[in-house]
Subunit: 459 residues, 2 copies
């Protein structure tokens, strides 16, 4: 464990802090060492700062301390991980007390999920309750979790202050530096994407900037306060949810107008002031849907309506219904009943080329199809032989296709783009539903496959 | 006038057409020579093709034929205009019969306005009715006006066929090449922006491509049909209406959360997959609002709902109410009554640096303020001494400011960015409302101006 420290970095001037950081004399603790928190902890430790990772998951902590890298999806971190564990620059623990008490900088990388479409900040709230008692004078707390604008100012500070005796701005500093990483690309993003830094006062912001400058080789964008930084993070993500919804809604209309949305977008993206987004079976993952509900929650608190975001969520969540509708219509055309049919879901990840099913539209599509009496099978190379949504994932596409009536492409993993269209003719029926625009409708027609493409009205 | 022609270009092969175009042996007629149609006609004529411009406006036709350039906003065309008029490569007429009958290519550049938020295609419809009788065999009709996807296929062709004896695809070709020009930047756009070309069949598309390749030095994007081309045009424009609405709605929330939207956007635009749009007092102009209503009209025809676009229109149209609300609140703060106050509107154009008030939010703001009993004045250098919305436009800002209680910046003309903040202190009150984020709120505060910035919660 790192040296005990009694220093108060808030009482130092910035030059002193800069020197302390360079001498690796600042102790860091990362609370929450999951998907984002562990890469964050590795990055801090690799910069030379003594780093301790805290998690309630004893199994994860043991795995990390014994040098077993838990993030197979982020292989770029494997070697760095081994180094910082071997040199004990990074250690993990479940003991938050000791870790926090010995740290100058406390980074919170805790999950902010939803329950019934309401953001759930209980992990942050319960850690904040502990922090009031545990932090030493002069500590800087940095929230990397994605939170609503105002959550630090109106909630976290109050919890920390009322659970201890320390006062914000005087005895401790608090700020935010929202993580900016895409699952599967965390190493690239941590080393390339600008990061926002905002604190409750200028001093706190300046200290965080000094520390992060040392750790992350990226542009740090100084924000006037915490809430503005969080507003930026949510605005940029929800922008995508909004625009996918816009295109999804157009795609449904273009189907009826006999227009191929993919051809529209291919031409549209040549326009200098248009940014292309693609239609699909829904928007999932650990960020976008939750970020939209976070802004809706903020709006509720101040009594305004965000009708664009409300509409967007509704549209994107209903796309799974449309996928089922396309499937029914294809079965009707083939004079086959959905009841007892065998349907293969191609891809369960919420986005291509990652192993991640958080809020994936596949889940809804599967459950709706099962409610219609179909037997749902899954093929997804990222989950070979795993059990996903209660279904054992197939490990050989060629073996399973001849037993299927229909295939629905839900995720556009790159692997799927190489499947020959003729492979699908091996199905009993054969019916092919493409929700991601990766199949050329005319090639499916040539192979006499009964085809439906989401948003593709013209074939 | 150009040579009488009896040739049938549809019966030629593409090589013959290419040669005819190069030899300037294709006669062109542009119906509608207004803001977009005249630059189009000049461009055709300048390419060497004998061009005749048709308009019902006798005054405009006379002006053009006498060599008086009518588009002061598009000065880049002035010299070209003089050349093609002098050499008689371009002539104007009100006589559609003669013009159409002698033309191989007929370009329609007619307005498609709205009446009560419903697109009004009557100009196109009534010209189409005439075309059935007037076109000679082998003519190619090209619609440049922005229309709904399917309008050519489901409506225009029928009108042309039923008003004469010629059959589409056999006796005449029809296609679209939606204009892609921004008022004020038409020359640049015509010489740089890709254009979409779609025809009712491959031959028609190919002929249009040959002709346009000769006339416009830009990438021509071949579309599978007319409706897809029109869908692209509308999608790219409505994308902007949607995204402005998204930011407008956030701006209203950020005001309540004490967040400065401009600071949010300044940081957000550094993110690689975010495209910035700015909040404001509304979305006007000859394109965006109408394009949104065109897509809504298409949706109505096929019985689908486009809730994103519906919401966007509502939000953007209500922004003028918010401007009035900000104004009232500033008057309240200054303990002054709106009744009988003098308010200066800075900028009436729908966008900066053009002379164009089509669907400008200024109109609604002015009428709402007048209904509240205020005396509204206008300063806009593009309309000096003109009468706009029934108000004589001031021609000297320094003279008028001391007589004003408040100023509302509605349009962010570049000129206005150079006004010193201290100028506004000359007002009686002084109250300043900035709907375009061009004033630094802290500088207004320093000058003791009562300030409201749209979307700017933090000052």
């Amino acid at each position: 464990m790192e040296k005990k420290t009694t220093q108060n970095i808030m009482s130092m001037d910035l030059d002193e802090i800069r020197i302390m950081v360079k001498k690796h004399g600042i102790n860091v603790c990362i609370i929450g060492i999951g998907r984002i928190g562990l890469p964050t902890a590795i990055t801090f430790a690799n910069s030379g700062l003594p780093t301790i990772g805290v998690d309630i998951n004893q199994e994860l902590v043991d795995m990390i301390n014994s040098g077993n890298f838990p993030l197979k999806d982020e292989p770029s971190y494997e070697q760095l991980f081994e180094e910082v564990i071997k040199t004990k620059k990074l250690i993990a623990t479940t003991k938050i007390e000791e870790a926090v008490h010995n740290s100058d900088v406390i980074v919170l990388s805790l999950p902010t999920p939803m329950i019934d479409k309401i953001p759930d900040y209980s992990a942050l709230q319960s850690v904040a309750e502990k922090l009031g008692n545990l932090i030493k004078k002069g500590s800087i707390i940095i929230v990397e979790s994605t939170i609503e604008p105002g959550f630090v100012e109106n909630e976290l500070i109050g919890i920390i202050e009322s659970s201890g005796t320390l006062k914000a701005k005087i005895d401790f500093g608090i700020g935010v530096c929202p993580e900016n990483a895409n699952p599967g690309e965390i190493f690239y993003d941590f080393n390339n994407r600008p990061r926002l830094v905002g604190g409750i006062d200028e001093k706190t912001t300046a200290i965080i900037l000094e520390v992060y400058k040392h750790v992350f080789p990226v542009e740090l964008v100084e924000m006037p306060d915490c809430k503005t930084a969080n507003a930026v993070k949510l605005t940029t993500n929800v922008f995508r949810d909004i625009n996918i919804a816009f295109i999804n809604e157009l795609a449904l209309m273009f189907e009826k107008l006999g227009i191929d949305t993919m051809k529209v977008l291919d031409a549209a993206k040549r326009k200098y002031n248009f940014q292309v987004h693609y239609p699909g079976s829904g928007v999932g993952g650990p960020c976008l849907p939750i970020n939209s509900y976070q802004l809706l929650n903020s709006a509720r608190h101040v009594g305004v309506k965000l009708s664009m975001i409300e509409s967007a969520r509704k549209i994107n969540e209903n796309m799974s219904d449309h996928v089922v509708k396309l499937t029914s219509s294809a079965f009707k055309e083939s004079n086959n009943s959905l009841q007892n049919s065998d349907i293969l879901i191609l891809g369960v990840s919420y986005k291509p080329n990652v192993k991640d099913i958080q809020l994936s539209p596949a889940e809804k599509i599967i459950s709706k199809l099962q409610n219609l009496g179909t037997n749902v099978h899954i093929y997804d190379p990222y989950f070979s032989s795993d059990t996903v949504f209660g279904i054992k994932v197939e490990d050989n596409l060629d073996d399973i296709l001849p037993k299927m009536d229909a295939t629905i492409i839900v995720t556009d993993h790159d692997d799927f783009k190489n499947i020959k269209i003729s492979s699908f003719t091996k199905m009993k029926n054969p019916i092919l539903i493409d929700t991601r625009g990766i199949i050329d409708p005319s090639s499916a027609k040539l192979e006499k496959i009964i085809f439906r493409g989401l948003g593709r009205g013209n074939f």
